[in-house]
Amino acid sequence: MKKIFLIGIKDVRLAMRDRTALLMMLLAPFILTLGLGFVTGRFSGTSSSGISNIHVIIVNQDAGQVGSALVDLLHSPDLQELVLVRDMSDEVAARQLVDTGQNAGVIIIPPGFTDSIISSPTTSAKTEIPQIELYTDPTRPTSVGVIKTILDQFLSQVETGRIGAEVTITQLITNGLVQVQDAAAIGQEIGVQQATAAGQTNAITIKDVTSNGKTIQFDVLGYMAPGMALMFLMFTASYGGRVLLAERNQGTLPRLLVSPTTSAQVLGGKIFGTFLTGAAQVFILILASTLFFGLQWGDPLGILVLVLAAVFAAVGWGMLITAVAKTPGQVNWIGTAIMLLFGLLGGSFLNLEGMPGWFELVSKITPNAWGLDGFTTLAMGGNLSNVMSPVLGLLAMGIILFIASLLLFNRKGIIQR
């Protein structure tokens, strides 16, 4: 283990002294993130999320005014570009449209939703908080996050209206300004006015996801920065492979193999070095974007685990490229091509949501797609348990790639004595 560690640390040190590599590992993703931030208006205050036309279905089974207010809100001009709303009455059919990937989610407003909220303030029995169901496509965390944000904002307004009506009527009765028998009707009127005022509010934008009690702001850079970091992580992964073959050509690998060091230790050290370099790269980018852009990445533990899993999978790809290529030059151009291809496929340039189902399926061969799912979930307020699916996906990908690489290394005798 000591020799694996020593070889790995040596490789990190060499990578950090390679100016060209540093430009690609750190400066390029940082500059690109910065540029995309400017393009999307993130730094000029005219930000658009870059996310639009989220397909959402609303099934309104409520006959009251609050249900209608939510429908009106989703159809409002403020959200026109963001969501494409379709009204349906058949709940089962609506769910099927989500299951088949045609829609990001269904909002189901249950029967009696309005009545359960705006009950008579004189009624002593506590009314159960009504549940709006949000049925979503788990492969679209960004869109789901946006829909959830809108709903949370709306429900927050509704709750404010309900409490406001209760307090107002209680005060009016105490001061003798209304009769007890009129309280129910007046309370309902106040509640409806306050609750449905949510429909006219301009405050509903893509922010304030409060699912875990924290205020998390959805930020366009929260999508772009991980996208760029993951894309250039692929560069680092192939860089590690290139270094392995370069060491063979420059004689340091044979020299290692005639020292009392096993070929497994040498290969382990090279992989460990690439892993450390990749992890350092992503953590430096996270730190830099937090410091310079004020970007909120989300739950630190989730970020830590997700980064390590993404680096593991990316290094797996790097090793496979190395096992297939014959020269450092080949690793370089195959690695660059794969970096760009994975960037495109994995959503580093374009949001994959809304892409055809087959495209999203193919994107799953990239660490970028899994990683972006996870980072977006965390940026929207999720925690480690919410990103277990991408983490496990990345780990499985890494394991498969490492096994394939080792078989190829063995067959080609790249690192055998």
Partner: protein
């Protein structure tokens, strides 16, 4: 003295190509043993097999009693290797390189530090130890390359053409350091295609050509094979017909061998002074001007020429 290295019928093939073809020899403890041969003779392949980098196709070798094919890890701790090509990390300093390689040989802590200091002293790079290798001259890099092989005080040091492509001053320093190391008790297997280096350093020499050992012994034993013959070297101008002149020289009765190379004709003869006049006459007849003439005592070059009909540089 006991044998530190024993090689028995060693064969190394790459597909159909046989790089080393059934060589056998041994090296005694404390000896400097040179493997002399032209480029492509199989010297580097032999060292690569003996240093456990490649497995032999057949045959075996043992170092300190351990088989290179069956006990490579035990062999590796006994040997040091100075490869022909520089095998260093350019972006690390000399001290960092030595530290890394020392740790690969199991050195650590104070032992590592003191060995690094000693080696830096030995290779004369104490003051520049903190500079990155890429800022060094070719000769300085060569010295660090050798230093890496010495760190763990190996019993047997393999040096594969360590003076190729360097200036005369660095070459001299390297040859002197090989002699110093040997005086300190280190056994050295030195490969070269420079006859002068093998002549200066070696207790015994093996001459290798086309993967086969064609001669082995002390220098006296080897030169005895060519008897008391001298080598007469005729230097002619560029563009002159070397081969025609060599043909003409072969007609002189006391010329045993005539070989051409790089505007030179080497003649092996028992009486160099006596054939000088007829040689000049033959050259004049062909209209070829002889620029200068060297007469050499019997040496390893002559042995190689005698055994192969070619010069070492061919």
């Amino acid at each position: 003295m006991t044998n530190l290295l024993e090689v028995k019928n060693l064969v190394k093939k790459y597909g159909e190509y046989t790089a080393v073809n059934g060589i056998s020899f041994s090296i005694k403890d404390g000896e400097i043993f040179s493997l002399l041969g032209p480029n492509g003779a199989g010297k580097t392949t032999t060292i690569s097999v003996l240093s456990t980098l490649y497995t032999p196709t057949s045959g075996d070798a043992s170092i300190g009693g351990y088989s290179v094919s069956r006990e490579p890890m035990l062999v590796r701790s006994l040997i040091g290797v100075v490869p022909q090509e520089l095998a260093l990390y350019d972006d690390l300093t000399a001290r960092e390189n030595l530290s890394f390689w020392g740790q690969m040989y199991g050195l650590s802590g104070r032992t590592l530090k003191s060995r690094i200091d000693e080696v830096l002293e030995q290779i004369g790079l104490v003051e520049k130890a903190g500079n990155r290798i890429k800022t060094y001259s070719g000769g300085m890099k060569r010295r660090v390359n050798i230093g890496v092989g010495l760190l763990h005080r190996p019993r047997l040091l393999f040096m594969d053409e360590p003076t190729v492509g360097i200036d005369p001053q660095s070459r001299r320093a390297i040859l002197d350091s090989v002699k110093d190391l040997n005086q300190q008790g280190m056994t050295v297997l030195y490969t070269t295609h420079y006859m002068e280096e093998a002549h200066e350093l070696s207790d015994r020499v093996a001459i290798i050509d086309h993967g086969e050992l064609i001669a082995l012994g002390t220098q006296a034993e080897l030169t005895h094979q060519v008897g008391e013959n001298d080598t007469l070297v005729l230097h002619i101008d560029e563009g002159q017909d070397c081969e025609s002149l060599a043909q003409a020289m072969r007609t002189i009765p006391s010329v045993l061998f005539a070989n051409t190379s790089d505007h030179e004709i080497s003649l092996i003869t028992p009486e160099a002074e006596e054939i000088l006049a007829p040689a000049v006459t033959k050259a004049n007849e062909l209209g070829i001007k002889i620029r200068s003439v060297d007469i050499k005592e019997p040496n390893l070059e002559a042995v190689f020429l005698h055994l192969t009909g070619r010069a070492l540089r061919d």
